[in-house]
Subunit: 277 residues, 2 copies
């Protein structure tokens, strides 16, 4: 058999990819994970057709979606690719792209392609029990081919995501990382810094505003530490830009300047409206 | 007639107080607003029994809830109180308490009481069409009596909010302002600074994380400028504490220190869990 889909890493995202693909008839779906118990649960929960703790079992598929933490994706691709048949396409769902793409460019067998991908969908929840067959519906997936990427491979990945209900947009790995540093990694960092600020004695004195503003802080610390580090330069730049805006608020407050505060608040509101389209 | 409830300022909060009170049989409800059209809509929408643009119409009630912006509440109380009968209790829903309580202490007729209140409930939405009869159910209302407050007046306000489904907690106006600077005003300021950071060209590259983290930035700029200014010292302190945590993230990222980043992320997550109880 050579066909169907393999998902490497059956957590929230991998489980959702598997479930969404099976529900849409894109199977059979092979699931690979190091955690044999979680894998067996996922298989019994109808997320997977075949489950294996052996990475090379993924070589039976012609499309492999790597759903591991960002600091493990390139290594998995390098280990898996030699076992794959010609024409196999590897892609991923990692939150950063430049480091992964650079680590793989020119290092895979000539007829095995890697195309970077990043669905702008997720959750602070973790684990396949939270898998959602519609997680990608009406979401955008950023695809990051390079001049060395075979066009057919990029199209294969795009048609897969479209079949999952998503829309695709191509950009370079570097453009991708600079953009999501501002739109995703910075919000995560800010949410976490904010969540750590009020002393715990203030328990019971928060409202929905605090809950929502800090929701991202509930995400996995290891996962996000790896994401931050793999997008370090762009994220440091984003933190700097945010710190400048914060300083403008501080200065306006220090000066008790009503007009400046209102203008800053209005700019936040308008910019948000533009960004959310 | 002397009895029932008056709501001064029929926006989202005032409209919700009115609707919630009528649904729970705590009426009749007199609604006061400067905007005659909005008021008439609210009356036709069954939020109010009586509507008036004349502030002193509120004097017919024995409990008056001032639902105006924080910088107008004390003035409304000072103008209304001389028209009130002995035994009338005035309260409010303002997001800051120290300035309002200080502006009224010792300045009202002896048999008219003011008790500061602040329901930890709200929305970035504005206007009575978004009024919600259950906005206060299972929410906490912070009540800020002072040593000069008649105990019966504080109890009257507490029993009102309990009848609306809320629980009450007493604290001093100063304790209140220091606490909400960290749990409410800081999150609003941070959400707004974050919402203003990514350039608008990144429209379409945001996910739910950005939307939720910046939700508060959709709130009214004038309302929040006034809230920030009336809690200036405590908010400046809160911004300073947040900036310190942000700087720790920046330094850990600059040093590419995985352990430090993970610890910071974990602290955010744990502290949030403690705060949300």
């Amino acid at each position: 058999m050579h066909g169907g889909l393999a998902v490497v890493g059956v957590g929230l995202l991998g489980g959702s990819v598997a479930l969404a693909a099976r529900r849409r008839g894109l199977g059979p779906v092979i699931g690979i994970d190091r955690d044999a118990d979680a894998l067996e649960q996922a298989r019994r929960g109808s997320l997977l057709d075949v489950a294996s703790t052996d990475l090379t079992a993924a070589a039976a598929a012609d499309l492999v979606v790597l759903c591991a933490p960002v600091d493990r994706i390139a290594d998995l691709a390098l280990r898996l690719a030699p076992a794959c048949r010609p024409g196999t396409v590897l892609t991923d769902v990692g939150s950063t792209k430049a480091a992964i793409v650079a680590a793989l460019e020119g290092r895979l067998p000539p007829e095995v392609a890697f195309v970077g991908g990043h669905p702008l969908a997720g959750s602070e929840k973790q684990g396949h029990p939270h898998a959602d067959a519609d997680l990608f519906v009406n979401r955008r997936v950023l695809i990051t081919p390079t001049p060395a990427t075979a066009e057919a491979a990029a199209r294969r990945v795009e048609s897969f995501w479209r079949a999952m209900g998503a829309t695709c947009r191509r950009m370079t790995p570097q453009e991708h990382d600079r953009a999501v540093a501002l739109t995703s990694h910075l919000p995560h960092l800010v949410a976490s810094a904010l969540a750590g600020t009020p002393p715990p004695e203030l328990a019971g004195l928060t409202a929905n505003g605090f809950r929502d503003t800090t929701r991202l802080a509930a995400g996995g610390a290891q996962l996000w530490s790896a994401i931050f580090r793999s997008n370090r330069d762009a994220l440091l730049d984003a933190v700097g830009r945010f710190a400048e805006r914060l300083e403008r608020f501080r200065a306006a407050l220090e000066a008790d300047d009503a007009a400046a505060l209102e203008e800053l608040l209005q700019r936040g509101r308008r910019n948000r409206d533009e960004l959310l389209g």
